[in-house]
């Protein structure tokens, strides 16, 4: 079939659409009245719950750290302080990305808008990397003077081993959670599930945009 014939079919289809479709003015006007579409209102309940739970957790943790600053053991203070700091950074990075996505100017050309959206979406990886950095502090917050003074060699070998393992895992994940590794099996295992689908799609789109940009530079 000739391409021209296909275009003619499409053109007749367009004419037909003009005839058979109509705008429901009331519905469209109702949408037009909806001037602000709230950021939090657009989030899935589970994500909103996670975000709220994270904020509440940080607030409670900080209140506890401030209240018990003079009485808590330094291991607890430092471990939980690091945990609170990293969670706060992750929450701010996540909210900042959401705000930027919400404010994206969709009237701009497709390739540049899609590149910006996909880059922002894939930068969610940063949140995951930051959160993984907390791993080692979950193996140190409970250490106290009694354990330090009376702990057996076996206990210390186990303790240092676990902390070292978590530290290595945290640093390895921080360094390796990158788009370049998206086809690796461990990456796919880590980011499987519906919640990560947008991230995986954003990575594919970013590849498409990058390949288009490379072509443009060559042509």
């Amino acid at each position: 079939m000739e391409l021209q014939a296909l275009q003619q079919t499409w053109s007749r289809y367009e004419e037909k659409l003009e005839q058979v479709l109509r705008i429901n003015h009331q519905q469209a006007a109702d949408i037009a009245q909806l001037k602000s579409h709230s950021l939090l209102g657009s989030m899935r309940p589970i994500k909103l719950f996670t975000l709220v739970a994270g904020v509440v957790w940080v607030l409670l943790l900080n209140a506890l750290l401030i209240a018990g600053f003079s009485t808590f053991h330094p291991f607890f203070l430092v471990s939980m302080g690091i945990q609170s700091l990293l969670t706060t950074i992750a929450i701010f990075v996540y909210l900042y990305q959401l705000v930027l996505l919400q404010r994206m100017d969709l009237t701009q050309p497709i390739v540049s808008v899609q590149a910006k959206i996909a880059r922002l979406q894939t930068s969610t990886l940063w949140v995951t990397r930051i959160l993984f950095l907390q791993l080692p502090v979950w193996t140190t917050f409970y250490l106290n003077d009694a354990m330090i003074a009376q702990g057996s060699t076996g206990l210390w070998i186990f303790q240092i081993g676990i902390t070292f393992l978590f530290l290595v895992a945290a640093l390895w994940l921080f360094v390796n959670i990158r788009i370049e590794n998206k086809e690796k099996r461990w990456f796919r295992l880590l980011f499987q599930g519906k919640e990560w689908t947008p991230l995986m799609q954003a990575m594919s789109l970013l590849e498409e945009v990058d390949s288009l940009t490379r072509e443009a530079q060559k042509s």
Binding site: Q7, I31, A32, L34, M43, V113, Q121, E208
Partner: protein, 172 residues
């Protein structure tokens, strides 16, 4: 354009270009519900951008940019507008005749359209956008303005897509 556009002016523009919304939604939405969600989101984004409409561009260019940007990035949406919640209980785009959408008076043409949409579905998101613009017989200049590519790059991409399209339809 002033800063407080009239809903009537907006609805008139929307009415004149409703086909674009429908075609883009059909090309990117997998189910009827997805398509209706996309049309609602496109309408919302068009309304929000209406005060900033740049008259240097044609309305179709402006609408294509927004409709395609909404459709391509729909994967990122946390939640579609809830069609079960007022005031979105009905569809923005409706068939005048409920049977018109399945009009079979020309079965061969319907079959070609189904094949064209199947071909569109096989393309990656940005190529699909270019293909839609090609089928709408947009000039390379307008395609370049919508996509943000150079005219020569658009030409190269379109030639590749045309070759794939020819191959696809010659197989049939």
């Amino acid at each position: 354009m002033n800063n407080s556009p009239s809903p009537e002016a907006f609805l008139s523009v929307l009415d004149a270009h409703k086909g674009i919304l429908y075609k883009v939604a059909r090309a990117y939405g997998k189910t009827e519900q997805d398509r209706q969600d996309l049309i609602q989101e496109m309408t919302l984004q068009l309304w929000r951008s209406f005060p900033r409409y740049d008259s240097h561009y044609r309305y179709s260019t402006w609408i294509y940019r927004i409709a395609l940007n909404v459709a391509i990035s729909s994967y990122r949406k946390e939640k579609h507008l809830d069609s079960k919640t007022e005031p979105f209980s009905k569809h923005i785009l409706e068939y005048v005749d409920s049977k018109a959408g399945q009009d079979n008076e020309n079965a061969e043409k319907e079959e070609q359209l189904a094949q064209l949409y199947a071909f569109l579905d096989e393309l990656r998101e940005l190529d699909r956008a270019l293909m839609l613009l090609y089928l709408d017989q947009k000039s390379h200049k307008e395609m370049a303005a919508i996509m943000g590519l150079s005219e020569s790059h658009v030409g190269t991409k379109i030639n590749r897509i045309k070759t794939a399209l020819r191959k696809k339809f010659n197989q049939k």
